[in-house]
Symmetry: C2
Subunit: 263 residues, 2 copies
């Protein structure tokens, strides 16, 4: 993996396109924004975009492609959305149909692609300050939980907020709020600090998605809205077809993480 | 006007609804967010929402109503979009059709209403720090200019960015950037500082909209993206019908200005 850390995003996307990279994208192209992908038919695009407008913490949209376009023209000029992610998931009527290296054979001219901000960006800012991000230290996936915080409904889309959790020593909680507040385009500030039960999480050691991580004696669990939310919400609607990245296999953009900071 | 400064928004909206307030809303309901209104038929709503996603500084959307709903349910529960602004403008095929006290007779069930953030919010934050906001001191409208900065195109919507200008002593420019950066939901940080010509403004004393204000010897002109942009862009598309607030006659919400600050 070390080889890809210092490569330019364009180069890595081309290697992925040619099948030369098949691994997950964690750690690749250090400093550049990686995003979640959701592809939906145009008929669902308005409601989904409205859902994002109403739930910017759960669904911070970085870019929306023109209908039928395979390119994220602003954040990744020259990209090909159908090939530039190492692993995709195709859902039909809300059920996982399969995982694929590319989605060329599924592509339709009425598809709209949404690139959604991801916590990699703010974690990078936390790491840059020397903060420990537990699941990264433990080389695990971040733990994610379904909460009792309902998203704002938008058209056909509705459902509970999924959160990711990072345990922090109490001395670092304030700073973590400050750092992540600067990135409203990638989930922004935490939506909850402390007591898991008050947001409907019964067993913090048993996440709904991802891996359980060690919570040390004086740690406080800090919760951020998670990009899994829009996927989960879209799945419930059971669209004819929906395509996403596979977890951990993200779309790598040409934009530096710091550029997403509002201050 | 003094009477309305300290009234609750709900009360003022009801007075407007009953025709008891007919003046512009500047200074009313101190501390509460006022917004620009754009109403379009559903057929244009996706492109307009996409335009906002791609041009968040020009078109910072605070709320989008459900199709056919006359209420901004989140920011102003109990509001009636068709009556709660003192003066509306109705455009047909891009031409001003007239100004009206209410738009009940124009309402259609396929209308979508967009509430767009307005510089009143960040000006209020500047004033709170004792900063002079020139056009307010001079009791004028803010000067606005059409620039050579093109918006990102979205479907049928495209056009140049309109900016508002506030002259500031050089000692206050940095602070103004900091203050307004905290409000990405209401145009955010300036998009240009200094030389008007480099953004296509030939004569700073001759704004395209609003009033000219005094620029003192050591003042630096500071430019922010302006909510007139989406209206100007939408007008060019010549939709069958478009309804907006009349300039200065804003929609008053129940949300405090400070709540829109990200930090």
């Amino acid at each position: 993996m070390e080889n890809f850390k210092n490569l330019e995003p364009l180069k890595v996307r081309k290697m992925i396109r040619k099948g030369k990279i098949k691994s997950n994208t964690a750690g690749m192209c250090h400093g550049y924004v990686q995003g979640n992908l959701v592809i939906l038919p145009k008929s669902h695009a308005y409601d989904f975009l409205l859902f994002a407008q109403r739930n910017p913490k759960q669904c911070p949209i970085l870019e929306v492609s023109d209908m039928g376009s395979r390119e994220f023209a602003k954040m990744a000029p020259g990209s090909d959305i159908t090939t530039d992610i190492p692993k995709y998931r195709v859902y039909k009527k809300g059920e996982l149909y399969g995982e694929f290296d590319d989605i060329k054979s599924f592509w339709k001219d009425d598809f709209v692609s949404f690139l959604i901000g991801c916590s990699f960006t703010f974690e990078s800012a936390m790491l840059d300050e020397g903060m420990e991000v537990r699941h990264i230290s433990e080389e695990k996936n971040v733990p994610m939980y379904i909460t009792n915080i309902q998203c704002e409904k938008a058209g056909i889309f509705e459902g509970p907020t999924v959160v990711s959790m990072r345990p922090l020593p109490s001395s670092e909680v304030v700073r973590a709020v400050q750092i992540t507040s600067r990135y409203p385009g990638v989930h922004g500030s935490p939506i909850h600090i402390g007591d898991p039960q008050s947001i409907g999480i019964e067993d913090i050691s048993n996440p709904d998605f991802g891996d359980s991580v060690d919570i040390k004696n004086k740690d406080i669990p800090v919760f951020w809205a998670c990009g899994v939310t829009p996927q989960a919400v879209a799945m419930k609607v059971k669209p004819e077809i929906m395509i996403t990245h596979a977890p951990g296999y993200m779309f790598i953009t040409d934009m530096k993480n710091q550029k997403l900071s509002v201050l």
